[in-house]
């Protein structure tokens, strides 16, 4: 890897169990898709690092190549790319997101994710 942005991305996903590459921040998202994923994580009380791609053009383009994924947001758990907005929405409703966090040893509020499923049943 010679792209410095890729190295910065790798450092973030190695150092943090859960990383969300997004437009804006966890408390101030600047795009609807980023906001959706951040809201899910916030609601589930998942500790995560938010990386604002709007603050760094290198990371904004670099993350797309790094993951071979053309859009933002992008969620990483334990160094693995999990998906973007559509996939995360599907996974929270199917319960797979809970499993991903459980397998990764990531703490989250199970009652909250159950409530998301109840309200979207």
């Amino acid at each position: 890897m010679t792209n410095p942005a890729h190295e910065a991305i790798k450092a973030d996903i190695d150092a943090n169990d859960v990383v969300l590459f997004m437009k804006g921040t966890s408390t101030m998202p600047q795009c609807g898709f980023s906001s959706t994923v951040a809201s899910i994580l916030n609601y589930m009380e998942v500790p995560y690092k938010d990386v604002n791609v709007l603050a760094d053009e290198g990371v904004r383009n670099g993350i797309k190549e790094f993951s071979d994924w053309p859009t933002i947001p992008q969620l990483y758990v334990k160094g693995e790319f999990v998906g973007g907005c559509d996939i995360i929405k599907e996974m929270v409703l199917s319960g797979e997101l809970d499993t991903t966090f459980e397998n990764g040893g990531v703490a989250f509020n199970k009652a909250a994710s159950d409530k998301i499923r109840e309200q979207n049943a």
Partner: protein, 77 residues
Amino acid sequence: MAMQAVEIESLIKEAFPTANVIIEDLRGDGDHYAATVVASEFAGKNRVQQHQMVYAALKGRMGGELHALALTTKTPE
């Protein structure tokens, strides 16, 4: 630059000739679409890989001229 629904459909069909493709223009603005792609080629692939296959079919337009495409991928029953 927005894309026409037929253009999206034909690119996907080109890569997945036997797929069932449904495109919905969510806001009627030619910029926010939802696509459901049911293709046998997805068998044995995880969701991320399935979506990557569709993005590859769109030849770099996703995230560029195609701003928003909510994607659902499935294998045939």
